[in-house]
Amino acid sequence: MSMGKNKSMNIKTNIIISRSSFSNSDFKEAVDLGLVCAAFDQEVNLIFVDSGITNLIKNQSAEKVDDKNQVDILKGLEFYDIDNIIIEQESLDLTRLETSHFINSVKIKTRAEINKLNQNANHLVSI
């Protein structure tokens, strides 16, 4: 099932996530918003910055703290043509994390590249 093959309206929405999912529902709300936008044929970029990048670490086991693995909700995004899951390089550089710590589908982009994406977006939502 692909709900976004025809991007006739060509509206671009960038969603920026800057906080970890363990303390709030930001991550889930951001992904839900992305799915809604994609269902209306918008192009969606999910952009992770600051501690938001920790949402994308693979092999999380949130059940150890009686929580749900939020990262699992990203698995279905490709069916909605959301294939731009982006980590800001500068945020990554401030941590001891490496690209290998993240799920496979992420793309690393510099702040300048992300700024360009944001300039070209019709809607920019920071969560």
Binding site: F22, S51, T54, Q60, K64, L94, R96, H101
Partner: protein, 101 residues
């Protein structure tokens, strides 16, 4: 008798340094938990400066929370002791009081 300080929000090293300077007893135990754990991911918290600041203190982190976030292998530092929830309770009982930051 030492105090147990709970660091529950994300700190940068400058903030942490100021917090540590305010501790009356430098031998106090400092426990990183919840989003405070993310502080330890920072390259700053693996620096000589961090080691100097915490030379006299015990730095603790909740093991289950590290594993839940899959960062237990990343935060592998001889200065930081991973403790279980049961040990957290022990530290709480042995401490004169707890301070949450």
């Amino acid at each position: 008798m030492s105090q147990l300080h709970l660091i529950q929000t994300q700190f940068n090293l400058a903030d942490f340094s100021r917090l540590h300077a305010r501790l009356a007893n430098k031998n106090d135990n400092l426990l990183f938990l919840n989003d405070g754990i993310l502080s330890l991911l920072s390259v700053e918290f693996n620096s000589t400066q961090f080691k100097e600041i915490t030379a006299e203190s015990s730095i603790l982190v909740l093991k289950e929370q590290l594993e839940a976030r899959a960062i237990d292998k990343v935060i592998d530092n001889e200065l930081i002791k991973n403790i279980s929830y049961e040990e957290f309770v022990d530290y709480s009982l042995k401490s004169k009081k707890m301070v949450s930051w």
